[in-house]
Symmetry: C2
Subunit: 402 residues, 2 copies
Amino acid sequence: MPPDGKLLNESRLHEKMAALKLDAVVATSPENVTYSSGFWALPQWIRRGPQTYVLWPAPERGEPEIITSTGTLDLIADQPIWVEKVRRYGDFHIDQGPEPPRDAVSLRLLEMLRSESHRDAIEALAVAIGKAGLARSRIGIDEIGLMPGQFGALEALLPDATFIPATSLFRDVRAVKTEEEITRLGIVAQIAERSIAAALDLAEEGSSEVELARAFHVQTVRDDALPVLGCIGFGERSALMNVQPSDRTLRLGDVIRFDVGGRYRHYRADIARIATFGEASKQVRDLHHALLSGIERACEMIRPGVRVADVHDATVETVRREGIRHYRRNHVGHGIGLDGYDAPSLTASSEEVFEENMVLSVETPYYEIGRFGLQVEDMVVVRRDGVERLMTTSGDLVVVPQ
Amino acid sequence: MPPDGKLLNESRLHEKMAALKLDAVVATSPENVTYSSGFWALPQWIRRGPQTYVLWPAPERGEPEIITSTGTLDLIADQPIWVEKVRRYGDFHIDQGPEPPRDAVSLRLLEMLRSESHRDAIEALAVAIGKAGLARSRIGIDEIGLMPGQFGALEALLPDATFIPATSLFRDVRAVKTEEEITRLGIVAQIAERSIAAALDLAEEGSSEVELARAFHVQTVRDDALPVLGCIGFGERSALMNVQPSDRTLRLGDVIRFDVGGRYRHYRADIARIATFGEASKQVRDLHHALLSGIERACEMIRPGVRVADVHDATVETVRREGIRHYRRNHVGHGIGLDGYDAPSLTASSEEVFEENMVLSVETPYYEIGRFGLQVEDMVVVRRDGVERLMTTSGDLVVVPQ
């Protein structure tokens, strides 16, 4: 397994922990477990209920530790994980042949199977906290991944500890990406672009939304990503903001809206592009020009230290000045990473400023109900001197010839 | 949109509600919302946090009602949903051109946009409960979909209501499938079989796990399903229970284990098949025979009224008698539906009996660490007179010629 760069922005995590005077944090949601350890625990990613945690002490307070079910230890043995301590709970029967295994993954799995197993996830977490000498400390816990009752169960096992909700802390840490994260986000953004191109290759009179969506997802999978978001709509259906592909067939003059993106090595894309089948009407061209101008204005302004709210306002203002006088948006984009909506959210009421190495989906959608939806959405990285685009295509209108 | 059969087993829901003396239940998790209303709310399925609910009163206590964010109303207008009342929360800007829309979906969306919007999901739910005259009643709430603090917030808004956790009630209702659910499960099981065949078409000296997985998922997507579970391992890696495809290449004599299944119209597959590259060794054939015998024994026994624990015991006993004397398993299968692990779980300690129209993944995995993993897993429906297989292939060993 080649050594990967870390996903975790460790110095930022420690800084945010210090600001809240936390002796440790516990990741419980799939995104935050993968983020803090590198461990992708299959059951917790594909279902709700299965529990995997990462206990991450403040510097000098001990080693980080993964708490997971026995049935997932093979994934720990096989993945590039930077947390070495592992505590398990529950049983899983695995057999051994007459000879010991020879490959490193199997040997590591066997070694972990020899460790003590705990009754359940919360008990294992409580033991980990206790053994780390943190039973009387102040611990941030990513509350979103716990099942109902588990927060209380943990408090009952560790009555002298103080638990503080920490999902928002993780969200804040994850907002500023490491280079490994930026690399993956660039790859998945471009997979989405290639998938749009593959779908448009099929666009002709009579092809359906479902056919284009199928071609889109086939390309995504060929490029080793997994389908997640596939809003593809024609004509009046392009105005449905979450449009799911139907049997609606393509007709001359239709707008085709893509709001799409898969997941590559756990990292999400979310981009949008507009095509028309045949020449676009003057109205569509004018509206699209206004939306694209908004994105361009946002990308000119964004750099470290600039207020998020100012960029929101300038983007909306630009779209209005360039032709959509009634344009209104709650947000003109959002962070993107392990989650499709990472921090920051580009709203008028935001009190945040942009920071170097944030990755954003910047967008200006416009939905005219019953007629068409238009949208430009680009993924960009905030660099020291401004925005670096992760895209290879422009947001220009694509005209699919008749 | 063609009228679909209902997913919801309404009579069973009402029966289970009556047994707990519930005046209403509230679905909150994506699976239970889709199940009870037909509504697939995109944001809640692809992220954790977004809230959509279905309030379902007992018979004679009122009409069911969906509570969802304004930004998802287009999906309600466009989907085959059998709950007509909708209550929304939050804002989303959608524009109108000079002329009213003419298509039914846009008209329905406009109509819903004219309704009052509430501040947030919990407030909207509390209003719905109040307006239904249920503010002093006993309400089952699917606790698993709520975010931390929301249960308490709801109790504070409705101090005279009694809220009972109801995730397990929904799980129990969902265990017995409607014909529409069985149809979808049959389709997705066979998509998984075709995807295995597509992957095996590529199997030759030097092809990698990743290459087979790519071919697997491409077929799944071509058949309009989405990839979820794709454990595909060669040789010693086939013994890793959750094996994720790597660059390991195929060598003569390798076992190839598939434990796989996508999602088709929200319904999951989970099946397993074993192939060998070149003739299988006598040992592999013997072990596989024992595992397959276990499945056959289970399928012979399963019918309405038979105890789940008895089938577990007989299955393990058969595998032991047929050659794996040390065979042990926590479970030999599970229900399957909207979730990959629906009820019942086929364990020794189960107190359940099989019921007509349960759909099960019956499985006998065997992992010999560092050497190989073998597994047969079939999807079946419990019919009045016994088991109906949803598969077109047998669980026999497939030999891929050299």
